[in-house]
Symmetry: C2
Subunit: 393 residues, 2 copies
């Protein structure tokens, strides 16, 4: 029989995230296409021990229904970390637990966007956000980024000319570009938004992963009541537990909570308790230092290999995170690099899904967190063969 | 600053689920208001052991990102159980894992409902469904139920007069009424829907919890390609893991999967693996027999006490599930029973949130799964005092 789906479904962009998981399941392919943190760096033993303790001490509570806002001690831990790391006045009542950052995107879109409303994001922009927002049928505007972050003139023009409900950005190690906003740009953005009704949505999936170990001040520091920050344990502890959060003014959080309750009552309570136990019995900072030292080495290695093996390709030089972006030599399409790469057993992600206007055909996103140095070396050699062959032909 | 939320937020009914959790946190109150399964019947030791095994055997996989559809062996287990229990041709490709049944409600609404579309449900109807669907701004029609299920004439009239995208019902131990559709009514419903474009959404949270241990044939048996069934481990294993599923035709599931991916990428993978390990190393049928024998006793005790202590009150007589509904003596309002009950340390749930038309003011929902027999006895005595005092005054 014919099913009459809602019109919003026609607005869903073709899915790429799922494709990535499929590529990553062929183990003969070295994949720089996905967005996985390193499995080897997940503290399986520590999380397992935390799980044993929670089940022993309070298993019946962990396995029962709970409240929508999330496990209070976990929310207090998150708030405390914001206060000490970033000097922002976070408190538990400003934190809502969600199923990873992706759910913050969905629910934020849900509470703010009527069909036809205006929303802004970076160009290129995170495809998970494009997918989430698109289902609420907004008009999505993009503002280009350079190595310093959002281009201020273009940002100012957008805010001046359209009633943008919120602007979604990733100031720290942006996905896909790997760029980090400079401090000056953050202040400029806050200045431009100040006095307007546009909320700044700071997707901070990577702020803990700067190779120099130093936090960057969030836009929220300059715009406290007009911005939200979404965070996640996926990149620093483990993605499989699907626990993230939204840090927002209480007026926003109250509405967000209604949407969260209607969406799934509450997030997995067992894992909230296990995470909290893990965080309070382990040295998170030492764990993160270990992650960033590994990712930092992998990132530098990848940059060096690109420079050596593919001098006609340009690329960003990330300060942290998990991704960099490369622009292919003139005349080479990312689709061809993808297709030929699969045959050569190396996967990259074409840039197109990060451009809602059809751009990005000469760009690829490269993930450096999931492959070890040996694989990065072999994979980059394969990629160089693929691209050099395309240049010659 | 003023936040300009989407118009759909104005359609959100006042939240009651959260209120219930609050009442249940005051331990001096005996609560029949909530919807919790019995904590004492959760197999903490067994789940804990399954968790230990998963972490030891494959912790790194359990803690990493995974695919949107869900853990394949778990989906195969669910499909196999449908085939043997209900004789319907389920297979893993028709099963999508979600964060408890509530997420099926949200995502189903999301993929089907444009603003102003027509949707049907029972009167009284499950408030979690009202909350989820309302955010997509449909026109919600209701069809009354009696002790045999949906009233066929009213159902037929609705389907004949409105382009209902889907009809949402709970044929097994309906929430809030506790009624179970008769087999004849199921066939009638399928007959009325056959040849129309209306999908039947069967929320089967309680189908495993019949006191006689016998499954009832789903409407899907008569209407295979035009119906979906949502299920959940919350009532038979543990709600805190937030794992449920939707069983649907592949054409629906493909679109549902896009919405699921945009909503949160995938459900908690650790708990999917732990659940599967638990299910394949424990006797689920024996576990369920234990639950239903306890719930059956509690239900009969509650019915008997109501008959003895409050003969002027009428109530449903459930065949399973966790709830019954009572109609108060003439002139007594459920709001007064609720308010006076809290003072007397007994909580019931007023029926109003289950009626989108403002009805139900003389009804209360009573949960019999969460309080033990001692508490049911004391709580019913308190309730009788409250109601008899209201009758006298």
């Amino acid at each position: 029989m014919p099913f009459h789906f809602a019109e919003r479904i026609a607005h869903a962009p073709p899915s790429f995230l799922e494709e990535l998981f499929r590529v990553s399941s062929d183990h003969s392919i070295i994949s720089f296409a996905g967005g996985l943190p390193s499995s080897a760096l997940i503290d399986v033993e520590g999380i397992s021990e935390a799980g044993r303790q929670v089940m022993e001490d309070d298993g019946r509570t962990a396995l029962q229904y709970s409240t929508t806002d999330g496990y209070l001690p976990l929310r207090e831990y998150i708030a405390q970390r914001y206060r000490t790391r970033l000097g922002v006045p976070a408190s538990a009542d400003k934190i809502q637990i969600v199923n990873g950052s992706q759910q913050s995107l969905d629910l934020f879109g849900k509470i703010f966007l009527n069909r036809g409303d205006h929303v802004g994001m970076e160009r290129p922009g995170y495809l998970g956000a494009i997918e989430a927002f698109s289902l609420y049928e907004p008009v999505i505007h993009t503002v280009p980024i350079d190595e310093q972050g959002l281009v201020p003139d273009a940002f100012e023009r957008l805010i001046a000319t359209h009633p943008v409900k919120f602007f979604y950005g990733i100031p720290n190690s942006q996905n896909p570009s790997g760029c980090t906003y400079s401090e000056e740009r953050r202040e400029q953005i806050a200045g431009i938004l100040s006095g307007t009704d546009t909320v700044f949505y700071d997707d901070d999936a990577f702020g803990e992963l700067f190779f120099d170990g130093k936090p960057r001040l969030p836009v929220k520091k300059y715009l406290p009541e007009q911005s939200v920050i979404s965070g996640s344990f996926s990149k620093i502890i483990a993605p499989g537990m699907r626990i993230g959060w939204l840090y927002a003014p209480p007026e926003i959080l109250k509405t967000f909570n209604i949407a969260k309750q209607a969406a799934d009552l509450h997030s997995n309570f067992l894992c909230q308790m296990v995470l909290h136990r893990y965080l309070t019995t382990h040295d998170l900072d030492a764990h993160i230092r270990n992650i960033v030292s590994v990712y930092g080495r992998r990132c530098r290695l990848m940059c060096d290999l690109l420079d050596d093996l593919l001098p006609t390709l340009t690329h960003t030089t990330p300060e942290g995170g998990m991704f960099m972006m490369a622009t292919l030599p003139a005349g080479i399409s990312s689709r061809a690099v993808f297709d030929n790469g699969i045959q050569e057993k190396v996967a990259v992600l074409p840039g197109m899904p990060f451009y809602i206007d059809g751009g990005g055909t000469d760009t690829i996103r490269l993930n450096f967190s999931n492959a070890d140095e040996e694989k990065i070396k072999t994979g980059m050699e394969r990629l160089a063969r693929v691209i050099n062959r395309l240049i010659r032909s």
